[in-house]
């Protein structure tokens, strides 16, 4: 929450800040010939009243010496600390990363870190301490005494602390409960840093540089704490090219934003909506989008002649298919930017958008404007980026976005990896050639470990799956081992934990002076190997959660086709922005963006489809869907020709449904439908809000409601087939059952028959001989 210091509650510190103002008023009063009664100096009665009124009113009016100063309170929760930072054992450390955006000029004297902590009462005060370290500089060392064992707050000012754009805050403890024979892992050794701890940053906003070479910064600032707010301004009568250009720009913003939320919005040109807090992106030709003219004065090399862009010097009109990209500071709101993606024709507009969103960025793209030649074409290179999830191919840690990571010492923290898996690894999915996932792990560890207790434990979804002893006293470098991941543990959102249990060799309760130089490494060439026949989980709309699957099979979206109705409302288009922005955030293209967009369903082969609509979907496109909209307020839901319900309501809900494209069991079509602004807003908020989106579960159909309380799953299209009645068994089985139940009959019968048919005839034959 950003607040001006003059607003809100008024602390003592603030009052003290006004003392110079009061003093000045007194001085002025005295200097103007008034008699001040304080210290036996006489004064005038009217001056007294005026003075008193000034004293009261000045602070209330917010007159401060530095009206532009802002403060930002950043709780540890916002930095990813969910509950508490737990610091156990004799020596341990936790780290938190925080950023300082380049648009903040920090006032170190007014900025501080407030830490709230508590610790075990058993700690020895003279040998136990909590150290606060910022960017490797120790800023405070606090003895852990009885007095501060209960929740205690400590404020550390940032004066003299070397702050950077990305900073590492570390809490480190040294803890002991006895001077002799100490168990270093004893449970009484603990300190907790509570999530109410926070940073208070006082800063003055600084205007960022605006240059195409850094586009989309400062629109998208990876160091910022707030969601990026961007407003697209589209012609009221937009063309398909305008829509496509807007979608490309939006996906590109998403790819630049990554972990930061992005809240794109839209308005049509000429429709007056307050743009106060947004960066603006105007798309279209000057003819279609008249608001572009308002910013024409900011263009250096081009000017508008009869609503057409022309070179300023020569007045020569830009070619029809050429585009123009402009990126500059908003003339009225300097902290905001304006991006113009324009041209003299819709094709030129699209050309400009394609150029601006292509990767890698072209070197000549710099300054505040760039004319895109009509001859420019994307490279056409194939994307080499691979999806960051496991589908059916092997994936290395690098491909999944994980670096080589090292941990140290006796209380080495667990190394956690989020492993998205979009396929079905249950054995039931294919019993003949069941799918297999093997973790081929590469790890190293230090010499001098205790071989009896040191190990590398692997947990998958909080279940221990392997424990690798670390037994070589000389340590080992890049050891490879394979661990089969049990199928039953593999879901869609998985967590792999590699926990090094590092116990020093010369270690024991009564070894006071052991050295702990232990470390362990998980290398990024570790990989997941996939075997067997892996089944697809498609269709399932819940798979877009975290991964954007299946639309993100390629990062440049060459497998995505978006269908938008011809007369789309603002709410529907904002939903398109929210969904495509989300897809962008989980990808990073290495070529130009290649998604296709149309008003029709005519689908290029080999693409997954995303349809946005109000239910008026063409008959040809309705076929695979279970939910249809036969009348303005009615919904028709049918299952397997046996269950059909038709009902109507006040259309406040929106629905997401995914099915296979008819005749293609690899490609899917997802339809996002609603019939009211509230319905589309609900979908928009679902895709924009990280917490809600990441809570979305699997399911064929999702119902989204405006109250944001639940996302219902319509998930059981067909009940499982009736179990086969138990076979009563063959006649032989029944005979065996009978013999089991009546063994005496069986024995007597067998003996009798043997005698009658075999032995007696044999005897009789011998007698004859």
């Amino acid at each position: 929450m950003v607040s001006r210091e003059s607003g809100g509650q008024f602390p003592i510190r603030e009052i003290l800040r006004h003392v110079p103002v009061f003093t000045a008023v007194f001085t002025f009063s005295a200097g103007s010939g008034l008699n001040i009664p304080i210290c036996n100096i006489p004064f005038d009665r009217r001056s007294l009243w005026g003075l008193a009124c000034l004293v009261v009113l000045l602070p209330l009016l917010g007159v401060t010496p530095d009206a532009d100063a802002l403060t930002r309170n950043i709780p540890l929760r916002q930095l990813g600390v969910k509950e508490t930072l737990y610091l156990p054992t004799v020596s341990s450390q936790q780290r938190v990363e925080f950023t300082l955006p380049p648009t903040w000029r920090i006032s170190p004297g007014d900025s501080y870190l407030e830490t709230e902590f508590q610790h075990s009462t058993e700690l020895l005060p003279d040998r136990s301490w909590l150290e606060i370290i910022i960017n490797e500089q120790s800023v405070r060392k606090i003895p852990l005494t009885r007095d501060n064992s209960k929740s205690t707050r400590v404020r550390v000012p940032f004066s003299g602390v070397p702050l950077r754009e990305t900073n590492i805050l570390k809490y480190r403890v040294e803890q002991h409960y006895t001077d002799k024979c100490e168990d270093p892992l004893d449970p009484s050794l603990w300190t907790q840093v509570l999530p109410s701890s926070h940073l208070v940053i006082a800063y003055t906003p600084v205007l960022p540089p605006v240059d195409l070479s850094a586009y989309p910064y400062p629109m998208i600032d990876s160091l910022a704490y707030d969601p990026a707010k961007v407003r697209f301004i589209l012609p009221e009568k937009y063309t398909l090219s305008d829509l496509q250009a807007m979608t490309l720009l939006n996906v590109h913003l998403g790819q630049s934003s990554r972990k930061r939320e992005i809240h794109p919005s839209l308005r049509f040109s000429g429709k007056g909506i307050e743009d106060s807090d947004n960066h603006l992106i105007l798309v279209g030709t000057p003819t279609d989008n008249p608001e572009i003219k308002h910013f024409a004065g900011s263009v250096l090399n081009y000017r508008l002649i009869e609503n057409r862009w022309a070179e300023r010097d020569t007045s020569k009109a830009m070619p029809e298919r050429a585009g123009l990209v402009l990126f500059f500071r908003h003339p009225d709101k300097p902290s905001r930017t304006v991006t113009l993606v324009t041209g003299n024709t819709p094709e030129g507009v699209l050309q400009a958008a394609r150029f601006l969103t292509t990767r890698p960025r072209l070197a000549e793209l710099k300054g505040t404007e760039y004319a895109v030649s009509e001859n420019w074409k994307p490279s056409g290179n194939a994307s080499r980026a691979v999806s960051r999830y496991i589908e059916q191919e092997n994936r290395s840690f690098i491909e999944l976005g994980f670096e080589t990571r090292q941990v140290e010492k006796i209380n080495a923290p667990p190394l956690t990896y989020a492993i998205p898996v979009v396929s079905d690894f249950s054995i039931a999915s294919n019993e003949i050639d069941p799918p297999r996932m093997t973790l081929d792990l590469t790890y190293s560890y230090s010499p001098g470990l205790n071989p009896e207790f040191s190990s590398l434990e692997l947990r998958f979804n909080d279940r221990a799956i392997a424990n690798i002893p670390l037994e070589n006293e000389n340590g080992q470098d890049q050891v490879r081992t394979s661990v089969v991941v049990p199928n039953e543990l593999i879901g869609t959102h998985n967590e792999l934990v590699a926990q090094f249990h590092l116990l020093p060799d010369k270690y024991g309760f009564c070894v006071d002076n052991y050295e702990d130089r232990s470390w362990g490494i998980i290398h990024n060439d570790s990989r997941f190997s996939i075997g067997g026949n892996v089944a697809s989980r498609l269709p399932d709309v819940g798979l877009v959660n975290s991964t954007g699957y299946p639309y993100t099979r390629t990062d440049n979206f060459e497998g995505l086709h978006v269908v938008i109705p011809e007369k789309a409302t603002r709410n529907l288009l904002e939903t398109v922005l929210a969904v495509t922005g989300r897809l962008g955030r989980v990808t990073l293209a290495d070529t130009d963006l290649r998604l296709s967009l149309d008003h029709k369903l005519g689908v290029p082969l080999g693409r997954d489809i995303l349809i946005f609509g109000t239910g008026d979907i063409p008959e040809s496109a309705r076929r695979p869907f279970l939910l249809n909209w036969p009348a303005p307020h009615a919904k028709l839901f049918h299952l397997d020709n046996t269950q059909a319900v038709r009902f109507s309501d006040d259309n406040l809900g929106a629905y997401l449904e995914q099915q296979f494209i008819p005749g293609n069991s690899r490609r899917v079509v997802t339809v996002i439908t609603g019939r009211s602004p509230q319905a589309f807003n609900a979908v928009r908020q679902l895709f924009e809000d990280d917490t809600r989106f990441e809570a979305m579960t699997l399911g064929l159909i999702k119902q989204v409601e405006p109250w944001q309380m639940s996302v219902n799953t319509v998930n059981e299209p067909v009940p499982p087939p009736a179990p086969e009645p138990e076979k009563k068994g063959s006649l032989i089985r029944q005979f065996m059952d009978f013999l089991k139940a009546n063994p005496l009959v069986g024995i007597l019968g067998s003996v009798g028959l043997l005698l009658f048919f075999f032995i007696i005839p044999l005897i009789l034959r011998r007698g004859k001989k």
Partner: protein, 731 residues
Amino acid sequence: MTRLRRYRLILALWLVAALLLPLVPAISLSQTQDAPKPGNTLPLTLADFGEKDGYTLKTVKTERQFAFTKPRNWEILPASSVAVTFQHSPALLPERSSLNVLVNNRILRTIELNDNNATPTTISIPVPPDILKDHNTLAFQVDQHYTYQCEDPFSSELWTTLLPETRLNLVYEPQPLRPNLAHFPYPFFDDLGYGPTRVGFLLSQKNIADETLEAAGVVATLMGQHAGWRDVDTDVADSPHADRNLVLIGTPKENVHIRNLKDKQPLSLDTAGNFLDPNSRKELPADYGIIEVLANPGHPERAILVISGNSPVGVRRAAHFLAQNPANKLMVGQYAIIEEQEPGPQHPFRLWDGFIRHAGETSFANMSLETLTARGITALPIYYNVRKMPDLSTPAEEKVTVRTVYSYSSQLDPTQSKLEVLLNDKAMASVPLDKRPGETQAVLKFEVPAEDFYTYNDLQYKFHLFPEKYDLCNFVTDVHIWGTVHNSSSVSVPGKITAPLPDVGLLNDGAFPFALFQDFSNLAFIMPPEPETADIKAMLSVATRFGRLSKSRTGINLSAVRPQTLTDAIRNDHHLVVIGPPKRNPILKDFNAKMKLLVEGGSAALREPLSRLAYDPQQGIVEETLSPWNDTRVGLIVSGETPEAMKRAARLFDDDKWYSAIEPGNLLVVNEDGPRSLTFLQRGEARFVYPSDYAPGPRIPDWAWIIFGFLAFIGTLTIIRLIFFRKPTAK
């Protein structure tokens, strides 16, 4: 006072006021925030957490966790607290022993275990509301030591007991209700809530249609299915002012309470009491169903669910849609008008989720059991509830085989580490964990006598884990040792699908046989021609209980009829639940031939053997018989001479203790203090129940096997003789 002094005083006061004025809002605001709000208090005792006798924390370090929830519409207030009452071993070293109280991993208080609190001591610890989420964990951790040297971590000297008085006091303020069908079953049922789900049904007292009765049964069963193991308090309300969530069922013409809510409902009614289309303002077709949810005008924190239509057919359609999975999850808003509703596919026969359904092998995964891990030297046991369908009968001489797939860590002490398995608290198997590198997905098989394997079984895995070179005087660490039981483990049950009926005891086993189809598509309630409140209450209680014991994946398709509307299809093919006293429900005459207890004129006579019972007309009667019309179906008679008797019979299904006390037999007499089972079943009367579409195959009588065997043997020997012992032909 001189003028100068007065001015000085005024100036001084102004200055002080001016300096303090800006602080006033902050002060008043902080007072507002800190002042304890009045609120309700929910005390959760250890008994509520399943430890009614308290819990003892043993060994050098251990932890006990209790899960609790924050209901959806509660704002937790700062007055919430944990009042921990404990005592501990006097042998503990105070400077080395402590009790930590945690909520959601945050240590709220560390209590030194010293001489002052060795005897029962209570300490109250505030719980900050901001750390509470929907699902929370209250934990008690102890670190206990009795010596600095050579300590046995399992010594009997190491204990701290949390006494039953320990409680978590949640102080809360209920938040306003926002009724919305997208959230259904909330607020009627909150999976985060406490206490029984209290629902009142408000129906017409007169001229109630079969469809309306059926709708009530469907909604009651649905509420039961949502509640599951949680208690449900279903009642027939007598006015819309009842302090509970209400379900209003019937047409507006039939149910005056729906008419009275005319101005509060999202859909309008015309003067004749018909629902109007919200767009065209025309009367809705008679067969359209109406579902509405709204806040109760008399109790804004309570909700009203309206199941209605302009005809009874519409009412039934609305109820069935409400229960129809998954279509019912499409509803959003305060109303839905059901224009068409085709019943979904039938829930498959005998598809009981989480149960062993067939002879042969069933994996833990198929029983919805998860892979679980236990850790450390004081690893807690891993519990599984293994359930077998009650009609899967295993002959006494056969064995049930449990195949356990387990893994364990490296570096265990092979001489002491082992995995122990207990079934229903009886030790069944034990295996040493003696491979130094550990094992992955090793298998342990053991057999269990069939008589020790019930419908509901507790399977317990105890990992006894000791680190390598474990030594009392040299114990170092156990953080790296663990054991895992995989859900690829399985249970093999031999046997046949067969169940002796009638037996009211099987009601306790998942409402068998009524819940064989979990959507109750072959269950019919037969109500008296003029049902009274007690009869409807009994029906709702039975329906709710059956719902609690079942889980339909499709819908709820039970029927409710009266003797005069009983169709041949229902009579011949359904299990029947007959409600009402013999005097008012004539269908019971058809059951006379099957009933063992005939109640006439205030006395009860047993048909065979002839005897008389000390019968009290206030006693409720619940009897199960074979259906008079189909020997593979049963009838459950819920009866009693008086309203009080009907009330007791209904309570049998409401009260968990009473219901779980039902024992095998074919007759239950429900007294003031609970049920008593009586068995009058005679030899040869038991039948085996099969579904209508389930062909058991030709059954050959046993004696025929002797003939078949004889002939087969002759044939075989004849062939052998022909081949090997043929006489040489004379040439």
